[in-house]
Symmetry: C2
Subunit: 254 residues, 2 copies
């Protein structure tokens, strides 16, 4: 008899943003698979076991978790943010598709979480208040020309763009080039928001313009929101600017 | 002295998906503004007051809440899902921008929530596992040609598309036309997910193909996820198909 496999999103980092549904799933599982820093956020009982792996080993981790669940254990795979957004839920599905038949009988329950762009947007005001897209900048996962084509298409037709995985040691130049591409389409004043670990002690949060935006403002845990031509900044006395995209749109950029 | 204005997301409907941060904000406010069905979800004390308004009166509601907070009250504006995604946070910012100076001094705190597409995606598997966009189909808020241009651009460059506000009594034909536009770009087998009130008793959830997708499968509270050319369905014995978009992409459609 197969066990259950919970794929749980822990949100951006603050315990205040973890849902009761995620906590209930954690309480029911006996084994926990994930990237070490996410596993460390869990408050586990002595009978519950952590199995940490590197953040580039998603498919191996998915296979190990499925194997254990297929053997009858209740297992939890944890992601930061939401498990369905550039995270473990897709890796689990990939493993199921090519894995043994027994894995198709595992009761897989994906538990959504607050994904980074929602937390960064909330901190800024409402930059995602109109149509938007979410794009991973990692060219480990797709050819760079696909990424640049999507950046151009999204900016040209007025989507606000949330950029995940903007930069890493092995991908140092891509974010700078992405910003150059966007500068050729959008105005210099277009608001850009950099948010990292929002709601945690090590939060970094910055509102700037596309002209001033620089790849050094981001690290691998930063989510960047690039406005559209309609995104606005409101000055407030003694408080940070509010950044928002109006619900109404007049039309496409000329 | 100005009060605080919390703009809170209650998630898709299940109490299990409301964050502790949202509950804390609700506990601190004395007045609650929102669409009636969202306000009814709140478990309030006798000293807390509900002020319901129609879901087409977002700007008037925003103004009333800002007026009350500027007068010194702690006020809560509630949205279903996430307040920053096609919801009240942008309406609040719009009202601040054109309102009296006093409104710029209100301490505005946006509290993120699980937005509909994340809950629908979790129920389906991982359809948002690769680049995606979120698009409101309401042409009350923008010209229809803007919507069709975005649908074409998004489908052509490989974004999965989450459609919000797909249909209503006053917008009966737009979803059918949107599906026709997508059928001209994507294959007949492209997975399409319809989800409504996911996690609630009145949940409706359906996985189909783009060829079979029909506007009658949606109502105004449905979120629709249309896959890309890379989105896949996995058959499972005795369980619904898993729908997912692989993390890896080989390239753009020819």
């Amino acid at each position: 008899m197969s066990g259950r496999l919970f794929v749980v999103g822990l949100g951006p980092g603050s315990a205040e943003q973890v849902t009761p549904q995620a906590l209930a799933a954690v309480a029911e599982a006996s084994e926990f698979y994930g990237y070490g820093p996410y596993l460390e956020r869990l408050d586990l009982r002595p009978d519950q076991r952590r199995i940490a792996s590197d953040n580039r080993e998603e498919l191996g981790r998915a296979r190990a978790a499925l194997e254990s669940a297929a053997a009858g254990r209740d297992v939890c795979v944890v992601s930061g943010g939401d498990p369905g957004v550039f995270a473990m839920a897709a890796a689990i599905c990939e493993a199921v598709e090519v894995g043994p038949d027994a894995w198709r009988q595992v009761d897989i329950r994906v538990v959504p979480g607050i994904t980074a762009m929602l937390a960064v947007a909330a901190r800024a005001g409402a930059p995602l208040g109109h149509d938007f897209c979410a794009l991973s900048l990692s060219d480990n996962l797709k050819p760079w020309p696909v990424i640049t084509a999507r950046l151009k298409a999204a900016a040209s037709c007025g989507f606000v763009i949330a950029i995940y995985n903007p930069i890493s040691r092995s991908r140092p130049w891509q974010l700078g080039e992405a910003l150059e591409i966007l500068r050729a389409i959008l105005t210099a004043e277009t608001p850009v928001v950099f948010g990292r670990a929002v709601g945690r002690k090590d939060e970094r949060f910055l509102v700037t313009s596309l002209a001033e935006a620089d790849a050094n403002m981001a690290d691998m845990a930063t989510c960047i929101i690039v406005g559209s031509l309609e995104t606005r900044r409101i000055k407030r006395p003694g408080m940070p600017d509010l950044v928002y995209t109006p619900r109404f749109s007049k039309g496409l950029p000329a």
